[in-house]
Amino acid sequence: MATESEVDKVDPIHQFGITKIMDFGEIGGVPFAFTNSALFMVITVAVIALFLILSTNGRGLVPTRMQSLAEMAYEFIANMLRESAGTEAMKFFPLVFSLFMFILVSNLLGMVPYFFTINSHIIVTFCMAMLVITTVIIYGFMRNGIGFLKLFWPSDIPMFVMPLIVPIEIISFLSRPISLSVRLFANMLAGHIALKVFASFILMLGGFGVIGYAGAVLPFAMTVALTALEVLVSFLQAYVFAILTCMYLNDAIHPSH
């Protein structure tokens, strides 16, 4: 029964708690501190920077393993951007590449036990989504002027359905940052909660003695499978975020449908 009280402490939400590491007091009534979330953002950026700097340090004509990995990531994003938004969009390559690497590395770091998953907080993903959408809006107006509004005005549609289509297009546009951020956030949150719940089943069954040990094999296998799935989801979410960024940039560059 000692395990019983231990099991009671298993709280799948606890892993997402934010703790202050260094408190700087308040600025304008808003608490200002260096939290574990910020720490892991710094770690993520440091990992990416170290990886890219060290791997491209040799600049070999015949790449080493690390260099070819870095080149692969570069080529992957560059091809994606070029295919979906044209060569003109290559000026946004740093944005897309940074977003992709940041999401990918932070998701993968979040898979390490006891590490904090940055993207399980909607404010982080929403900030990234708003960064993308704001870039799209500002660049769209800068490049096309008022013609950017043609995005909401499909050209090959009869006039009398326009009052219906235009609000639909506007809602569709406004839903983009929501879907972009909620997808990443919800996948990370749900995946980690599911992992935690299945892992706690192992502890719970282990409390029943020998039969429990035998039964605990099932949730253990499930946990292993879920871990693999989570790694896949980490890649996919980073990929989806990057490709949607490319598509939205395409809208900013070529606003007419």
Binding site: L174, S175, S179, V182, L236, V240
Partner: protein, 138 residues
């Protein structure tokens, strides 16, 4: 896409051969076919065929994620907009009703757009369709 065409061609050839083997001596045609298949297997690029299904599975999964979240997000945005409009303009139930329906329409359109741009590269949907993952062969 390229190797899919080759595969279709091979199966068609095999079906054709089934008819023809009635005329030819028993077994001889089968042996020639096997030899041809072995020769073709050497010539055909293998890594593309093995990496194909895994990549498309990932692409399908990401498409499913995109569609469902975009559908729900459009309805959410429509509802929230309608609710806010009701709050501001005082048109109590109607803003939410109308904008939620519009949001639903926007969600269906999002799904259609996602599906239209990413499915069926082999059936020749749109030539300029963006198929990101499975277009590494050109």
């Amino acid at each position: 896409m390229a190797d899919k065409g080759a595969f279709d061609g091979a199966s068609r050839r095999r079906g054709h051969a089934g008819k023809q083997s009635d005329l030819l001596p028993e077994g001889q045609f089968e042996r020639r076919l096997e030899k041809l298949d072995a020769a073709l297997d050497e010539v055909r690029p293998k890594p593309q065929r093995t990496s194909g299904p895994v990549q498309t599975r990932g692409a399908d999964y990401s498409n499913a994620l995109r569609m469902s979240s975009e559908f729900v997000a459009a309805i959410l945005v429509g509802t929230i907009l309608g609710w806010g409009l009701d709050k501001v303009a005082g048109t109590k139930p109607w803003g939410m009703i109308i904008l939620m329906m519009l949001g639903f329409a926007a969600g269906v359109m999002n799904v259609l757009r996602t599906a239209g741009t990413t499915t069926t590269p082999q059936s020749g949907g749109e030539p300029g369709a963006t198929t990101a993952l499975d277009e590494d062969d050109d």
